[in-house]
Subunit: 190 residues, 2 copies
DNA sequence: TTTAGTCGTTAAACTGGTTTAATAAAAATG
DNA sequence: CATTTTTATTAAACCAGTTTAACGACTAAA
């Protein structure tokens, strides 16, 4: 759990006792390619840290897959809406390759954050970080062409295209597989 | 500052002493229609609470306005990227009508959150809330038509259309004034 | 009260996507 | 390893938006 520890400490100093305290609640989960952490209807009372692998956060709508996000190494994730609201999940969290995550139950998150002011601060700062990232994504969705968004994805998340099938990338970018194929064709020509 | 107090308490209990402590740092700011809180290049070291009025969060690109968000009554806001990174602003925060906000300096936010575990928790939970809202917006941007997005805006933020010129609404939705006009025409026909 | 500027609508031509369907290529499975 | 299934490409027809430009209504300023 060295990666997770460093991740936490990247946000704010936390003393060893508090780290140890919260670590007692984490359990390690192995997922084989295609296995799901969460599916619609599930209770969502775990918060996850992705150690190795890749998880696809998506929903099904009119029989179509709509990719919301790909979580890869060294990020926190869950179906946050359902987690916060105690609502049944409407999305899937599914490994796109063999994956290892660490999981902590919501009640133990709150317990740890309640016990330690530093851990609470880590929680705030990591949430702030997630918010800033998400907001800059909104900016792109509204103001960039699909081509710009595809090129940016290639640039900002190198390797993702090799790890994940292209039709999922297309969905993540908000277009169809056919549309992405055309954009790729256009790009090699120039 | 009763509204602000209730807003904080809506996230988590905070004792009166801690509320009073952070309140000493807030100052009230009146903005006339068109006045700017932030413009590109500015240092952003205040966090704001919108009490009454409306603030347009936007950027200029190739001479075009790109609206990112409209902040209205009872929300927290700032140019968060610049605030967090201590980077010069790249966006504007401009009142679209006469507006009253409360402002607190970043250093005093950190001081208050450092002093009070409950205030820190409020910070975490409000950030979580902001994150969840933003994430659900991403979902819409990727998976809904412009028409659906316009109808949803009418529904979820009634009154906004009357407060804000239509070309800004168009920009917020990611389309041109002409495009929005066509959608509106289509809608009255049906 | 005229004048200048802003805002929303409309029309026409255009464009970058979608949809549907066929086909090829690659991967999974018995 | 032969078969089935999944994934990516291509083509053709289509469509929901854009761009440009003109016009009328409203607003602000002199």
């Amino acid at each position: 759990m060295e990666n997770l520890k460093n991740k936490i400490l990247s946000y704010t100093p936390v003393n060893v006792a508090d780290i140890d305290y919260i670590f007692q609640f984490y359990s390690k989960i192995h997922l084989r390619k295609g296995e799901k952490l969460i599916k619609p209807g599930d209770k969502v009372d775990y918060f996850y840290y992705l150690d190795v692998g890749c998880v696809n956060y998506y929903k099904m709508e009119k029989g179509e897959i709509k990719v919301l996000e790909f979580y890869t190494e060294d990020v926190f994730f869950t179906d946050l809406y359902a987690y916060v609201q105690n609502a049944p999940a409407t999305c899937f969290l599914e490994a796109t390759e063999d994956t290892t995550v660490y999981a902590i139950e919501k009640i133990n998150v709150e317990k740890s954050f309640g016990k330690s002011h530093s851990l609470e601060r880590f929680g705030r700062l990591s949430m702030q970080d997630a918010f800033v990232r998400t907001f800059t994504r909104i900016e792109r969705l509204n103001n960039r062409t699909y081509e710009e968004r595809y090129l940016r994805l290639l640039n900002k998340r190198p390797g993702l295209i090799q790890r994940v099938p292209q039709y999922l990338i297309a969905s993540y970018l908000g277009l169809t597989p056919v549309g992405l194929s055309k954009i790729r064709k256009r790009l090699v020509k120039n």
